[in-house]
Symmetry: C2
Subunit: 245 residues, 2 copies
């Protein structure tokens, strides 16, 4: 066995997490080749001086990520295919930055408006009560890529225009102590109106990719509702899915 795994018991990092990270790194690095057996759990636990439940917890987390597959009576194998992150709840800003795209943001509108029926329903606030309205244009390489319109309930986040242009909305929300939990999302397409076309530098009637999203924090409160339109020539949604067993 070539792998040199080890755990640091004095570290505050949980042992199962240390192990799962090392295994993940070994898979990423190629030390564990696709299709190879991982060796049985009992022996692995003995070799590391850990108990089997701890080793199992580490392995299970990688199974959940889709990197490993367990087979009763056979063993645990490394999956062949390369698995990307299975579609996180991520912001466009972070996605672009991770892709090395250097996103730029131009805040068009940052004000308070009375909530329409649709927005009030999405955010679970009273109709006509005041909510934040933010309109932004996202550019890459100086070209417009997406038009983002977001609504937030009042009093949650301090929406500074300068900060909005420097970072993403989700980062501001996390910095404000909001723990994002889930989002309901719809992706569609439609023809651009004249105003939309002008904003994005397209022709009227050109196909646009649209996304509507309501985000909830861990208490179930709706913390954001947004309607986004993307130029399909410059953006598409790409992600990896896993089957739930």
């Amino acid at each position: 066995m070539s792998l040199d795994l080890s755990v640091d018991r004095s570290s505050p990092v949980p042992l199962y997490f240390q192990l799962s990270q090392q295994l993940e790194a070994a898979i990423e690095h190629g030390a564990l080749t696709p299709g190879s057996l991982l060796g049985n759990e009992i022996e692995l636990a003995a070799r590391l001086g850990l108990s089997r439940p701890t080793v199992r917890q580490a392995i299970q987390s990688l199974v959940d990520k889709g990197l490993l597959v367990r087979r009763r009576g056979v063993g645990t194998q490394v999956v062949h295919s390369k698995v990307r992150r299975p579609l996180e709840l991520s912001s466009l800003f972070d996605d672009l930055e991770a892709a090395g795209q250097r996103p730029a943001t131009k805040v068009l509108v940052n004000t308070m408006v009375p909530a329409t029926a649709e927005i009030a329903a999405a955010l679970a606030v009273a109709e006509d009560s005041d909510v934040h309205r933010i309109e932004r244009l996202r550019l890459t390489h100086g070209e417009p890529m997406a038009y983002l319109c977001n609504y937030l309930p009042p009093g949650l986040v301090d929406l500074d225009t300068g900060q909005l242009e420097a970072t993403g909305l989700y980062r501001l929300m996390r910095a404000a102590g909001i723990t994002l939990h889930s989002a309901r999302q719809a992706i569609g397409a439609r023809a651009a109106t004249t105003a939309e076309a002008e904003r994005l530098g397209e022709d009227a009637g050109a196909p646009l990719l649209t996304m509507e999203r309501t985000t909830f924090d861990d208490t179930g409160r709706a913390v954001e509702f947004g309607t986004h339109t993307y130029r399909p020539s410059r953006y598409s949604f790409e992600f990896q899915l896993l089957v739930r067993p």
Copy 2:
């Protein structure tokens, strides 16, 4: 405590699974109201005659589904928001049937063709080697909704045209003993070509929603590659996302 939970030790169904199902049913049914505490794990285990690890395993599976939230020093709470399935690897056919839409399928093409470079790369087969090619039109209420073009490596599934029209491709694959594992997917938009417009009953240049997907089985083998186009007026992708902690 009103909830009457119980487990059947003689059942072959795992105890933790019995418990998680009952809890999920209680949440769905409203017996466990959003925001309510679940009661501490120790007492719950004692009440059911189970050990704490077993109870924790049941709770954890619901946390992973996004139905519960754990807080150290506080307890386990039911999440407020309604959570749908977090975007399964599902087939269009199943989605429609679940929505009560009575999908109809018309198989336009079911043949073998030599693989182009793109298809060969996606399916990891040799270029120009034979692969299945299936073209289908999916209709709801007699109206075309999507045009599906799929490629499969040879010898995996028996692709009977009659069966393809009666059920979905994924069901056929599962029935053939293939265990679907993951898929890489891209959603975009573009203007319809004349041929596409005619097939779907739209005008040329009308916006179309597009999806490209490669599906892998649990050994990492690519088992399907497809390019689909949808009429955006009749279909959009809707799903729930969870943040990964």
